[in-house]
């Protein structure tokens, strides 16, 4: 069942992105930034975690989960160590996406030739 919800919820988040691009005439970069902020706000009010339980990869694969993970890491550290946790905990949960992008970006640049 979680497969079906992953498809539907993930697809709907992409539709929101498409609407921002088409109706408000935003570039893909601006659209992704808006969605990241949206994910961060949703976790701030405690709604993103239930969405992950419900839709699995439908909630963790779209870029909104990046905002969710940033708030989550920062908040967990704040609860443990006080306000300095905002800085120290920020990338605690979300390191996977950024590390993978940097590592595979470098490997890609070594392996592949630019097109055109």
């Amino acid at each position: 069942m979680v497969f079906l919800w992953a498809f539907i919820v993930g697809g709907l988040i992409c539709v929101i992105g498409q609407l921002i691009m088409d109706i408000f005439k935003q570039t893909p970069g601006a659209t992704l930034s808006i969605l990241v902020v949206l994910g961060a706000v949703l976790d701030g009010v405690g709604l993103y975690e239930p969405l992950i339980d419900f839709a699995g990869a439908g909630a963790t694969v779209p870029i909104t989960s990046f905002g969710n993970a940033l708030v989550h890491g920062a908040w967990t550290e704040v609860e443990k160590n006080g306000l300095i946790g905002v800085v120290t905990g920020m990338f605690e949960v979300t390191s996977a996406g950024i590390s993978a992008a940097i590592i595979f970006g470098m490997i890609g640049a070594i392996l592949f030739k630019p097109k055109g």
Binding site: C14, A57, I63, V93, A101, G108, L111
Partner: protein
Amino acid sequence: MSKSYNDKVYNHSPKRPLLFNCLRAFFVGGSICLFGQGISFFYMYFFDFTEQTAGDPTVSTLIFLTMIVTGFGHYDKIAQFAGAGTAVPVTGFGNAVISAAIEHKSEGFVQGVGGNMFKLAGSVILFGVFSAFLITIIKTLLLELGVIG
């Protein structure tokens, strides 16, 4: 003058078929998430990951696959068809980093790859981190003041 110019550009630019774009974004984006759910299941079944923690290895695997698709030059073709369907999933973030890295390889690894890797994806990190900073501060203040429990 600039307003009438914008109107002219608007009138002459091709109309974007909104419903059709949304359908394509829905099916391609949904399929990527469905595929991601399959990877999550793989990690939960064969390794000790839970529904909550399987997100990290799934995202890493998807970005690895993005590297291969981007490297062979296919990601742009899919993106042209799918619009936000390929931009919004984390593969779009990976594609932005990896394609910038490959594209600027000719300028060298320090100036080119290092300097341009986050040219497109940097704003996502900037606004993500800064909004997370503000939200956490606000939440802490509200908690201190006893507004939320």
